[in-house]
Symmetry: C2
Subunit: 197 residues, 2 copies
Protein backbone atom coordinates (compact mmCIF):
# COMPACT_ATOMS: atom_id res chain seq x y z
CA UNK A 1 0.00 0.00 0.00
CA UNK A 2 2.03 2.97 -1.23
CA UNK A 3 0.04 5.49 0.81
CA UNK A 4 2.69 7.57 2.57
CA UNK A 5 0.50 8.79 5.47
CA UNK A 6 -0.73 5.31 6.37
CA UNK A 7 2.65 3.62 5.78
CA UNK A 8 4.38 6.16 7.99
CA UNK A 9 1.79 5.67 10.74
CA UNK A 10 2.03 1.86 10.56
CA UNK A 11 5.83 2.17 10.78
CA UNK A 12 5.65 4.33 13.91
CA UNK A 13 3.12 2.05 15.61
CA UNK A 14 5.12 -1.09 14.67
CA UNK A 15 8.14 0.26 16.60
CA UNK A 16 6.21 0.41 19.91
CA UNK A 17 7.04 -2.29 22.47
CA UNK A 18 5.00 -5.48 22.01
CA UNK A 19 3.81 -4.54 18.51
CA UNK A 20 5.01 -5.60 15.07
CA UNK A 21 4.04 -4.83 11.45
CA UNK A 22 0.97 -7.09 11.56
CA UNK A 23 -0.51 -5.82 14.82
CA UNK A 24 0.41 -2.26 13.82
CA UNK A 25 -1.66 -2.58 10.63
CA UNK A 26 -4.58 -3.89 12.71
CA UNK A 27 -4.31 -0.99 15.15
CA UNK A 28 -3.98 1.64 12.40
CA UNK A 29 -6.95 0.21 10.50
CA UNK A 30 -9.12 0.27 13.64
CA UNK A 31 -8.14 3.92 14.11
CA UNK A 32 -8.74 4.92 10.48
CA UNK A 33 -12.16 3.28 10.52
CA UNK A 34 -13.28 5.70 13.23
CA UNK A 35 -11.34 8.95 12.77
CA UNK A 36 -13.58 11.10 14.99
CA UNK A 37 -14.20 8.50 17.70
CA UNK A 38 -10.74 6.96 18.02
CA UNK A 39 -8.03 8.53 15.87
CA UNK A 40 -8.38 12.21 16.77
CA UNK A 41 -8.92 11.63 20.52
CA UNK A 42 -5.73 9.52 20.59
CA UNK A 43 -3.77 12.12 18.59
CA UNK A 44 -4.89 14.87 20.99
CA UNK A 45 -4.20 12.80 24.13
CA UNK A 46 -0.67 12.13 22.84
CA UNK A 47 -0.09 15.77 21.98
CA UNK A 48 -1.36 16.95 25.36
CA UNK A 49 0.78 14.37 27.17
CA UNK A 50 3.83 15.47 25.19
CA UNK A 51 3.25 19.05 26.32
CA UNK A 52 2.22 18.45 29.93
CA UNK A 53 4.13 15.41 31.18
CA UNK A 54 7.45 16.11 32.88
CA UNK A 55 9.96 14.24 35.04
CA UNK A 56 9.76 14.94 38.78
CA UNK A 57 13.06 16.55 39.79
CA UNK A 58 12.93 15.07 43.27
CA UNK A 59 12.13 11.41 42.46
CA UNK A 60 12.25 10.86 38.68
CA UNK A 61 8.54 9.94 38.38
CA UNK A 62 6.51 11.12 35.37
CA UNK A 63 3.65 13.53 36.14
CA UNK A 64 2.03 16.72 34.89
CA UNK A 65 3.53 18.68 37.78
CA UNK A 66 7.01 18.88 39.28
CA UNK A 67 7.37 17.78 42.09
CA UNK A 68 5.01 14.90 41.26
CA UNK A 69 1.77 14.17 43.13
CA UNK A 70 3.50 11.56 45.31
CA UNK A 71 6.29 13.91 46.43
CA UNK A 72 3.70 16.67 47.12
CA UNK A 73 1.34 14.39 49.08
CA UNK A 74 1.53 15.48 52.77
CA UNK A 75 0.28 12.01 53.83
CA UNK A 76 3.39 10.35 52.39
CA UNK A 77 6.31 9.54 54.71
CA UNK A 78 9.08 11.62 53.13
CA UNK A 79 11.72 9.82 55.22
CA UNK A 80 11.03 6.38 53.73
CA UNK A 81 12.44 6.26 50.21
CA UNK A 82 11.76 3.30 47.93
CA UNK A 83 14.41 2.97 45.19
CA UNK A 84 13.11 1.47 41.92
CA UNK A 85 14.62 0.95 38.49
CA UNK A 86 11.94 2.58 36.34
CA UNK A 87 8.64 4.44 36.33
CA UNK A 88 6.92 1.15 35.36
CA UNK A 89 8.07 -0.32 38.70
CA UNK A 90 6.82 2.76 40.58
CA UNK A 91 3.43 2.41 38.87
CA UNK A 92 3.30 -1.30 39.76
CA UNK A 93 4.00 -0.58 43.46
CA UNK A 94 1.42 2.24 43.46
CA UNK A 95 -1.21 -0.10 41.99
CA UNK A 96 -0.38 -2.60 44.75
CA UNK A 97 -0.86 0.27 47.25
CA UNK A 98 1.92 -1.26 49.33
CA UNK A 99 4.24 1.72 49.91
CA UNK A 100 3.27 4.82 51.89
CA UNK A 101 6.61 6.63 51.57
CA UNK A 102 8.17 8.30 48.54
CA UNK A 103 10.25 6.94 45.66
CA UNK A 104 13.49 7.35 43.80
CA UNK A 105 13.47 6.25 40.16
CA UNK A 106 17.02 5.31 39.14
CA UNK A 107 16.22 5.20 35.43
CA UNK A 108 18.21 1.96 35.07
CA UNK A 109 20.50 -0.43 36.91
CA UNK A 110 24.29 -0.81 36.77
CA UNK A 111 25.27 -3.00 33.83
CA UNK A 112 28.77 -3.67 32.56
CA UNK A 113 27.30 -5.30 29.49
CA UNK A 114 25.12 -2.35 28.49
CA UNK A 115 27.68 0.18 29.71
CA UNK A 116 25.52 1.68 32.47
CA UNK A 117 27.69 3.16 35.21
CA UNK A 118 26.92 5.04 38.46
CA UNK A 119 26.93 8.37 36.60
CA UNK A 120 24.01 7.20 34.44
CA UNK A 121 21.72 6.59 37.44
CA UNK A 122 19.48 9.25 38.96
CA UNK A 123 20.93 9.01 42.48
CA UNK A 124 21.63 12.72 43.10
CA UNK A 125 18.29 13.48 44.81
CA UNK A 126 18.71 10.47 47.14
CA UNK A 127 22.14 11.49 48.43
CA UNK A 128 21.02 15.10 48.73
CA UNK A 129 18.24 13.99 51.06
CA UNK A 130 20.64 11.67 52.92
CA UNK A 131 23.04 14.59 53.48
CA UNK A 132 20.17 16.67 54.84
CA UNK A 133 19.60 13.90 57.41
CA UNK A 134 15.96 13.71 56.34
CA UNK A 135 15.91 9.94 55.68
CA UNK A 136 14.95 7.16 58.07
CA UNK A 137 14.84 4.17 55.73
CA UNK A 138 15.88 3.37 52.17
CA UNK A 139 14.00 0.43 50.62
CA UNK A 140 15.83 -1.15 47.70
CA UNK A 141 13.13 -2.51 45.36
CA UNK A 142 15.11 -3.62 42.33
CA UNK A 143 14.53 -6.78 40.31
CA UNK A 144 16.25 -10.00 41.39
CA UNK A 145 18.57 -9.98 38.39
CA UNK A 146 22.38 -9.92 38.41
CA UNK A 147 22.35 -6.22 37.50
CA UNK A 148 19.66 -5.48 40.09
CA UNK A 149 21.64 -7.26 42.82
CA UNK A 150 24.86 -5.46 41.80
CA UNK A 151 23.08 -2.13 41.96
CA UNK A 152 21.57 -2.89 45.38
CA UNK A 153 25.01 -3.88 46.70
CA UNK A 154 26.57 -0.70 45.31
CA UNK A 155 23.80 1.49 46.78
CA UNK A 156 24.07 -0.23 50.16
CA UNK A 157 27.82 0.55 50.23
CA UNK A 158 27.24 4.20 49.31
CA UNK A 159 24.39 4.69 51.79
CA UNK A 160 26.27 2.92 54.63
CA UNK A 161 28.10 6.04 55.98
CA UNK A 162 24.78 7.90 56.48
CA UNK A 163 23.69 5.39 59.15
CA UNK A 164 20.10 5.00 57.97
CA UNK A 165 18.20 1.72 57.77
CA UNK A 166 18.64 0.05 54.38
CA UNK A 167 16.19 -2.73 53.52
CA UNK A 168 15.38 -4.68 50.40
CA UNK A 169 12.14 -6.22 49.19
CA UNK A 170 11.81 -9.84 50.29
CA UNK A 171 12.82 -12.68 48.05
CA UNK A 172 9.52 -13.41 46.49
CA UNK A 173 10.49 -11.55 43.37
CA UNK A 174 11.15 -14.53 41.07
CA UNK A 175 14.78 -15.07 40.03
CA UNK A 176 15.51 -13.31 36.77
CA UNK A 177 12.18 -11.49 36.92
CA UNK A 178 11.43 -7.78 36.81
CA UNK A 179 9.03 -5.99 39.16
CA UNK A 180 6.48 -4.56 36.75
CA UNK A 181 5.10 -7.92 35.60
CA UNK A 182 4.22 -9.15 39.09
CA UNK A 183 0.71 -9.36 40.52
CA UNK A 184 -0.27 -6.91 43.28
CA UNK A 185 -0.40 -9.59 45.99
CA UNK A 186 3.16 -10.77 45.42
CA UNK A 187 4.38 -7.17 45.29
CA UNK A 188 2.65 -6.27 48.55
CA UNK A 189 3.98 -9.43 50.26
CA UNK A 190 7.52 -8.81 49.04
CA UNK A 191 7.41 -5.22 50.26
CA UNK A 192 5.99 -5.97 53.73
CA UNK A 193 8.46 -8.85 54.30
CA UNK A 194 11.47 -6.60 53.56
CA UNK A 195 14.51 -7.24 55.77
CA UNK A 196 17.67 -5.30 56.67
CA UNK A 197 20.50 -5.83 54.18
CA UNK B 1 -1.50 6.69 39.25
CA UNK B 2 -4.02 9.52 39.48
CA UNK B 3 -2.45 11.52 36.63
CA UNK B 4 -5.38 12.40 34.36
CA UNK B 5 -3.36 12.92 31.16
CA UNK B 6 -1.49 9.63 31.45
CA UNK B 7 -4.53 7.66 32.67
CA UNK B 8 -6.61 8.96 29.78
CA UNK B 9 -3.90 8.05 27.28
CA UNK B 10 -3.46 4.54 28.74
CA UNK B 11 -7.24 4.08 28.54
CA UNK B 12 -7.36 5.05 24.86
CA UNK B 13 -4.41 2.82 23.94
CA UNK B 14 -5.85 -0.12 25.94
CA UNK B 15 -8.97 -0.08 23.76
CA UNK B 16 -7.03 -0.70 20.54
CA UNK B 17 -7.28 -4.21 19.07
CA UNK B 18 -4.72 -6.63 20.52
CA UNK B 19 -3.82 -4.37 23.44
CA UNK B 20 -4.91 -4.41 27.09
CA UNK B 21 -4.22 -2.30 30.21
CA UNK B 22 -0.81 -3.89 30.77
CA UNK B 23 0.53 -3.57 27.24
CA UNK B 24 -1.02 -0.08 27.02
CA UNK B 25 0.98 1.06 30.05
CA UNK B 26 4.13 -0.33 28.45
CA UNK B 27 3.43 1.49 25.18
CA UNK B 28 2.56 4.79 26.89
CA UNK B 29 5.67 4.64 29.06
CA UNK B 30 7.89 4.01 26.03
CA UNK B 31 6.28 7.06 24.38
CA UNK B 32 6.59 9.30 27.45
CA UNK B 33 10.26 8.40 27.85
CA UNK B 34 11.01 9.90 24.46
CA UNK B 35 8.51 12.72 23.85
CA UNK B 36 10.40 14.36 20.98
CA UNK B 37 11.55 11.15 19.28
CA UNK B 38 8.43 9.01 19.61
CA UNK B 39 5.42 10.69 21.20
CA UNK B 40 5.13 13.85 19.10
CA UNK B 41 5.88 12.15 15.74
CA UNK B 42 3.12 9.61 16.47
CA UNK B 43 0.67 12.33 17.54
CA UNK B 44 1.37 14.28 14.33
CA UNK B 45 1.13 11.19 12.10
CA UNK B 46 -2.26 10.36 13.64
CA UNK B 47 -3.50 13.92 13.26
CA UNK B 48 -2.37 14.11 9.64
CA UNK B 49 -3.95 10.73 8.87
CA UNK B 50 -7.23 11.87 10.48
CA UNK B 51 -7.25 14.90 8.21
CA UNK B 52 -6.04 13.34 4.98
CA UNK B 53 -7.33 9.75 4.87
CA UNK B 54 -10.67 9.22 3.14
CA UNK B 55 -12.73 6.33 1.79
CA UNK B 56 -12.52 5.76 -1.98
CA UNK B 57 -16.02 6.34 -3.36
CA UNK B 58 -15.53 3.82 -6.15
CA UNK B 59 -14.10 0.85 -4.20
CA UNK B 60 -14.23 1.57 -0.45
CA UNK B 61 -10.45 1.49 0.04
CA UNK B 62 -8.76 3.95 2.42
CA UNK B 63 -6.37 6.44 0.80
CA UNK B 64 -5.37 10.09 0.89
CA UNK B 65 -7.10 10.69 -2.44
CA UNK B 66 -10.51 9.74 -3.83
CA UNK B 67 -10.55 7.72 -6.09
CA UNK B 68 -7.76 5.75 -4.42
CA UNK B 69 -4.36 5.06 -6.02
CA UNK B 70 -5.53 1.60 -7.16
CA UNK B 71 -8.66 2.90 -8.93
CA UNK B 72 -6.57 5.69 -10.57
CA UNK B 73 -3.77 3.36 -11.71
CA UNK B 74 -4.02 3.11 -15.55
CA UNK B 75 -2.15 -0.24 -15.43
CA UNK B 76 -4.97 -1.86 -13.43
CA UNK B 77 -7.60 -3.90 -15.27
CA UNK B 78 -10.77 -1.96 -14.40
CA UNK B 79 -12.97 -4.79 -15.70
CA UNK B 80 -11.73 -7.36 -13.18
CA UNK B 81 -13.20 -6.56 -9.76
CA UNK B 82 -12.08 -8.42 -6.65
CA UNK B 83 -14.71 -8.30 -3.88
CA UNK B 84 -13.29 -8.35 -0.34
CA UNK B 85 -14.80 -7.98 3.11
CA UNK B 86 -12.53 -5.26 4.51
CA UNK B 87 -9.61 -2.94 3.81
CA UNK B 88 -7.37 -5.35 5.76
CA UNK B 89 -8.13 -8.04 3.13
CA UNK B 90 -7.38 -5.58 0.31
CA UNK B 91 -4.04 -4.71 1.96
CA UNK B 92 -3.22 -8.43 2.34
CA UNK B 93 -3.92 -9.12 -1.36
CA UNK B 94 -1.87 -6.04 -2.37
CA UNK B 95 1.07 -7.25 -0.28
CA UNK B 96 0.80 -10.62 -2.03
CA UNK B 97 0.84 -8.71 -5.34
CA UNK B 98 -1.55 -11.31 -6.72
CA UNK B 99 -4.34 -9.16 -8.18
CA UNK B 100 -3.87 -6.78 -11.13
CA UNK B 101 -7.49 -5.62 -11.34
CA UNK B 102 -9.43 -3.34 -8.99
CA UNK B 103 -11.32 -4.02 -5.75
CA UNK B 104 -14.64 -3.60 -4.06
CA UNK B 105 -14.55 -3.40 -0.28
CA UNK B 106 -17.91 -4.57 1.11
CA UNK B 107 -17.23 -3.28 4.61
CA UNK B 108 -18.61 -6.53 6.10
CA UNK B 109 -20.38 -9.77 5.22
CA UNK B 110 -24.04 -10.75 5.57
CA UNK B 111 -24.71 -11.98 9.10
CA UNK B 112 -28.09 -12.79 10.60
CA UNK B 113 -26.45 -13.01 14.02
CA UNK B 114 -24.87 -9.56 13.92
CA UNK B 115 -27.82 -8.08 11.99
CA UNK B 116 -25.85 -7.24 8.84
CA UNK B 117 -28.17 -7.17 5.80
CA UNK B 118 -27.62 -6.37 2.10
CA UNK B 119 -28.30 -2.67 2.76
CA UNK B 120 -25.28 -2.52 5.11
CA UNK B 121 -22.82 -3.67 2.42
CA UNK B 122 -21.04 -1.32 0.03
CA UNK B 123 -22.31 -2.98 -3.19
CA UNK B 124 -23.66 0.14 -4.97
CA UNK B 125 -20.44 0.89 -6.92
CA UNK B 126 -20.24 -2.75 -8.09
CA UNK B 127 -23.76 -2.85 -9.57
CA UNK B 128 -23.30 0.59 -11.09
CA UNK B 129 -20.28 -0.71 -12.98
CA UNK B 130 -22.15 -3.92 -13.89
CA UNK B 131 -25.03 -1.84 -15.32
CA UNK B 132 -22.53 0.17 -17.37
CA UNK B 133 -21.39 -3.16 -18.90
CA UNK B 134 -17.81 -2.34 -17.93
CA UNK B 135 -17.10 -5.59 -16.05
CA UNK B 136 -15.56 -8.80 -17.41
CA UNK B 137 -15.00 -10.77 -14.20
CA UNK B 138 -16.00 -10.50 -10.56
CA UNK B 139 -13.67 -12.38 -8.17
CA UNK B 140 -15.30 -13.19 -4.84
CA UNK B 141 -12.47 -13.18 -2.27
CA UNK B 142 -14.32 -13.54 1.01
CA UNK B 143 -13.25 -15.69 3.98
CA UNK B 144 -14.32 -19.35 4.07
CA UNK B 145 -16.73 -18.74 6.96
CA UNK B 146 -20.48 -19.38 7.02
CA UNK B 147 -21.16 -15.65 6.65
CA UNK B 148 -18.56 -15.35 3.89
CA UNK B 149 -20.10 -18.26 1.97
CA UNK B 150 -23.62 -16.84 2.41
CA UNK B 151 -22.46 -13.48 1.09
CA UNK B 152 -20.71 -15.05 -1.92
CA UNK B 153 -23.87 -17.05 -2.72
CA UNK B 154 -26.03 -13.91 -2.45
CA UNK B 155 -23.64 -11.87 -4.64
CA UNK B 156 -23.48 -14.65 -7.24
CA UNK B 157 -27.32 -14.64 -7.45
CA UNK B 158 -27.43 -10.86 -7.80
CA UNK B 159 -24.63 -10.69 -10.40
CA UNK B 160 -26.08 -13.61 -12.44
CA UNK B 161 -28.38 -11.49 -14.69
CA UNK B 162 -25.45 -9.35 -15.87
CA UNK B 163 -23.83 -12.38 -17.59
CA UNK B 164 -20.26 -11.69 -16.43
CA UNK B 165 -17.81 -14.31 -15.21
CA UNK B 166 -18.05 -14.82 -11.45
CA UNK B 167 -15.14 -16.65 -9.80
CA UNK B 168 -14.12 -17.26 -6.22
CA UNK B 169 -10.68 -17.70 -4.66
CA UNK B 170 -9.66 -21.37 -4.49
CA UNK B 171 -10.22 -23.43 -1.40
CA UNK B 172 -6.89 -22.94 0.22
CA UNK B 173 -8.30 -20.38 2.57
CA UNK B 174 -8.53 -22.50 5.75
CA UNK B 175 -12.06 -23.29 6.95
CA UNK B 176 -13.21 -20.74 9.47
CA UNK B 177 -10.25 -18.50 8.68
CA UNK B 178 -10.13 -14.90 7.51
CA UNK B 179 -8.00 -13.61 4.64
CA UNK B 180 -5.83 -11.05 6.35
CA UNK B 181 -3.92 -13.52 8.54
CA UNK B 182 -2.71 -15.65 5.61
CA UNK B 183 0.82 -15.68 4.24
CA UNK B 184 1.46 -14.17 0.80
CA UNK B 185 2.16 -17.52 -0.88
CA UNK B 186 -1.16 -19.07 0.15
CA UNK B 187 -3.01 -15.92 -0.88
CA UNK B 188 -1.34 -15.85 -4.30
CA UNK B 189 -2.04 -19.58 -4.83
CA UNK B 190 -5.67 -19.23 -3.76
CA UNK B 191 -6.16 -16.30 -6.13
CA UNK B 192 -4.52 -17.87 -9.16
CA UNK B 193 -6.41 -21.18 -8.67
CA UNK B 194 -9.79 -19.40 -8.63
CA UNK B 195 -12.59 -21.27 -10.41
CA UNK B 196 -16.02 -20.35 -11.85
CA UNK B 197 -18.83 -20.50 -9.27
Amino acid sequence: MPIPDIDHLVGLVARLPGLGPRSARRVVLALLRDPRGKLLPLARALESAAVSVRTCSSCGNLDVEDPCHICRDPARAKDVICVVEGVNDLWALERAGAHRGVYLVLGGVLSALRGVGPADLNVGPLFERLREGAVKEVILALGATVDGATTMYWLQEKIGPYRVEVTRVAQGVPMGGTLDVLDDGTLAAALSARRPV
